[in-house]
C-alpha cells in the first residue's frame, strides 16, 4: 500500500502543484522577512534609545505582540479585521500577520544586539563630532548586525516553518497543498508528508548552514 502510494502520489502534476505551493511559501517568507527587518529594526532602536515614555509605550505593544501565538494573529488579521473594514486577500493577510509577529521578535533581537555594544563606542563617536543618528548608522548598527546575524537567521527559519500555519485560513502554500493531494487518495499521506518534510528540512538546514558560516566568518 505504502509503496504503491509513493509511485502514484508523485505524478508530474502533483509534483508541480506542490512546487507551486513551495513558491507561495517562499514568497510569503521573503516579503515578510524584508518587512519585518525594516519594522523590527525601527522598533528595536526605539526601545534601545530609551526615550522617556515613548520607548516604554512601544516596548509594551511589542511585548504584547511577541507573546501571542502567531496562529491567533493570522486568524485575527483574516477573520476579525474585516469586521472593522480592513479586507485583505489571503496572501496579504498572511504577510501582514507574519510581518507583525516577526517584527516584534526581530525588534527584541535588535534591542539585545544594540545593548551588547560597548557604550564607550557611542561616547567615542560622539566625541569625534558625529551626531547621534550618524553614530547609529555608521558605527553601532553595522557591528550590532554582525552579532545579530545568527539569531536573525534562526528567526528566519521559524518564519519559513510558520508559513505552514496559514493553511488554517486556506492559503494554498505547501502544507495545504499536500493535504489536497492526500485528499485524492489516502494512501498518499505518508509519501506526501515525508516529501514536504524533506523540502522544509533542506530549505531550513541550508539557512542554518548560512548562519553558521556567517558566525564563523564574522566572529
Amino acid at each position: 500500500m505504502v509503496t504503491l502510494g509513493i509511485f502514484s502520489a508523485f505524478t508530474p502534476q502533483n509534483v508541480m502543484y506542490l512546487l507551486g505551493g513551495l513558491g507561495i511559501t517562499v514568497g510569503v517568507s521573503i516579503i515578510s522577512v524584508i518587512l519585518s527587518l525594516i519594522f523590527g529594526s525601527v522598533v528595536g532602536i526605539i526601545q534601545f534609545e530609551r526615550l522617556p515614555y515613548f520607548s516604554k509605550f512601544v516596548g509594551t505593544i511589542n511585548n504584547v505582540i511577541r507573546n501571542l501565538p502567531l496562529l491567533l494573529i493570522i486568524f485575527f488579521v483574516y477573520f476579525a479585521l474585516p469586521k472593522i473594514g480592513i479586507h485583505l486577500p489571503i496572501f496579504w493577510a498572511t504577510v501582514v500577520a507574519m510581518s507583525t509577529f516577526e517584527s516584534a521578535m526581530l525588534a527584541e533581537i535588535v534591542r539585545g544586539g544594540l545593548e551588547s555594544i560597548d557604550i564607550g563606542q557611542f561616547e567615542g563617536a560622539r566625541a569625534n563630532g558625529l551626531s547621534n543618528m550618524q553614530t547609529m548608522i555608521y558605527i553601532i548598527l553595522p557591528q550590532a548586525y554582525k552579532k545579530m546575524i545568527p539569531p536573525i537567521i534562526s528567526q528566519l527559519i521559524s518564519l519559513v516553518k510558520d508559513t505552514s500555519l496559514a493553511m488554517g485560513i486556506v492559503l494554498a502554500e505547501m502544507t495545504y497543498r499536500s493535504q489536497i493531494i492526500y485528499a485524492q487518495n489516502s494512501t498518499y499521506i505518508i509519501p506526501v508528508l515525508v516529501a514536504i518534510t524533506l523540502v522544509y528540512f533542506v530549505l531550513n538546514y541550508g539557512l542554518s548552514l548560512i548562519a553558521r558560516w556567517a558566525d564563523h566568518k564574522l566572529a
Binding site: 526615550l51 522617556p52 515613548f54 477573520f79 472593522i84 479586507h87 547621534n132 489536497i180 492526500y182 485528499a183
Partner: protein
C-alpha cells in the same frame, strides 16, 4: 541628545503615537458602522464584471482541487459557472466566474467579510445562518449521515450514543452542532477540514465521521472499506449563500437557478457528477 531634549521628544512622540492609535480605532469603528450598511452585491458584481464564488477544494464530487490545472472541480463549481452565465444573460452584463477555495470553518466569515461575493460550498440552509446571511432556494437535497467502517457493527447514529465512541466532524458545519442531538453521549472531535477528518477516521481517532450524506458518498467511493450507516437523520438541503439583505442578488440567483433546472443544464450536471456513485439513486436528485 541632551536629557531634557530627549524627554521632550519622548513625551511628544508618545502623545503622537497614542493619538494615532486612538484616531485609528475611531476610524475603524466608524468604518465598521458604515460597513454594516453594506454595499449591494449585485451592483458590485455588475460593476466589476465578475462573481467571486467561494467553493470547496477538499470535497469529492462537490469541489476538489485538480492539481493539474490548480483549479477546483465538482458539482458546486459547475453550478456556479452555470449560474454566472445565466445571471449575465439576465442582467445583460457580461460576467466571469472566479473561484476561491474556502473551508467549512471559514466560509461564513468570508461572505460577511465580502472576500467572496457568494458561496456554493455544500452549505446547509439553517435558521441560525439565515439570521446572518441570505440563501437562495435549495440547489441540492442533502441530510446528515455517518460514515463508518463496514465491519464496525455500527448500524445507525443511535448505536453511537455511548461515551466509548468518538464522532469526527468539521468545525463550522451544521453536522458539528446537530450531532449532539442525536448521539449526546458520544464524544465529538472537530477538525479543520474533511481531508484531515477522513484521515483521522482511518487512523482510528474516531469510529465515525458525520456530515452530509452527499459528501460522505464521495469518501465511500474512494474508501471501499467504509460505508454510510443508517441513512440520513436530518434534512438539510444546500443553498447558495450571499451576504444578508441582498434581495436583488438573491432574486437574480433564484431566477437563474430555476432557469438551469428548467433547461436541463442542472440535470446534466447531476448526471455528470453523481451517476457513478455506488449506492446513490442519482435520478432522485434530478429536477422534476
Amino acid at each position: 541628545m541632551e536629557k531634557a531634549k530627549k524627554r521632550q521628544f519622548g513625551i511628544i512622540a508618545t502623545i503622537v503615537l497614542a493619538a494615532v492609535i486612538v484616531l485609528g480605532l475611531m476610524w475603524a469603528t466608524a468604518t465598521a458602522k458604515q460597513n454594516e450598511a453594506h454595499q449591494d452585491t449585485l451592483a458590485r458584481v455588475e460593476k466589476l464584471g465578475r462573481i467571486v464564488w467561494g467553493v470547496k477544494a477538499d470535497t469529492k464530487l462537490f469541489g476538489l482541487m485538480n492539481t493539474k490545472t490548480g483549479k477546483p472541480e465538482g458539482f458546486d463549481i459547475d453550478i456556479a459557472k452555470a449560474l454566472t452565465v445565466q445571471i449575465s444573460k439576465q442582467t445583460g452584463v457580461p460576467m466571469s466566474a472566479e473561484f476561491v477555495p474556502v473551508s467549512a470553518s471559514s466560509k461564513m466569515q468570508l461572505i460577511k467579510n465580502t472576500n467572496i461575493d457568494g458561496s456554493v460550498s455544500t452549505m446547509t440552509i439553517t435558521p441560525e445562518r439565515e439570521k446572518i446571511i441570505d440563501f437562495t432556494n435549495q440547489y441540492f437535497d442533502a441530510g446528515q449521515s455517518i460514515l463508518v467502517k463496514k465491519d464496525s457493527g455500527i448500524n445507525s447514529v443511535k448505536d453511537m450514543n455511548d461515551s466509548k465512541y468518538t464522532i469526527i466532524v468539521v468545525v463550522g458545519t451544521t453536522a458539528a452542532t446537530e450531532i449532539a442531538k442525536f448521539a449526546p453521549k458520544a464524544k465529538v472531535l472537530a477538525v479543520q477540514d474533511y481531508a484531515t477528518g477522513m484521515q483521522a477516521l482511518k487512523s482510528g481517532q474516531g469510529q465515525a465521521m458525520s456530515t452530509d450524506n452527499a459528501i460522505l458518498y464521495g469518501f465511500a467511493t474512494e474508501n471501499p472499506d467504509y460505508h454510510i450507516a443508517g441513512g440520513t437523520f436530518t434534512h438539510g438541503p444546500y443553498g447558495i449563500a450571499f451576504d444578508n439583505n441582498q434581495k436583488p442578488m438573491i432574486r437574480e440567483a433564484n431566477k437563474a437557478l430555476a432557469k438551469i433546472k428548467e433547461n436541463g443544464v442542472y440535470n446534466q450536471l447531476v448526471k455528470k457528477w453523481f451517476s457513478d456513485v455506488p449506492g446513490l439513486d442519482w435520478h432522485s436528485l434530478e429536477a422534476k
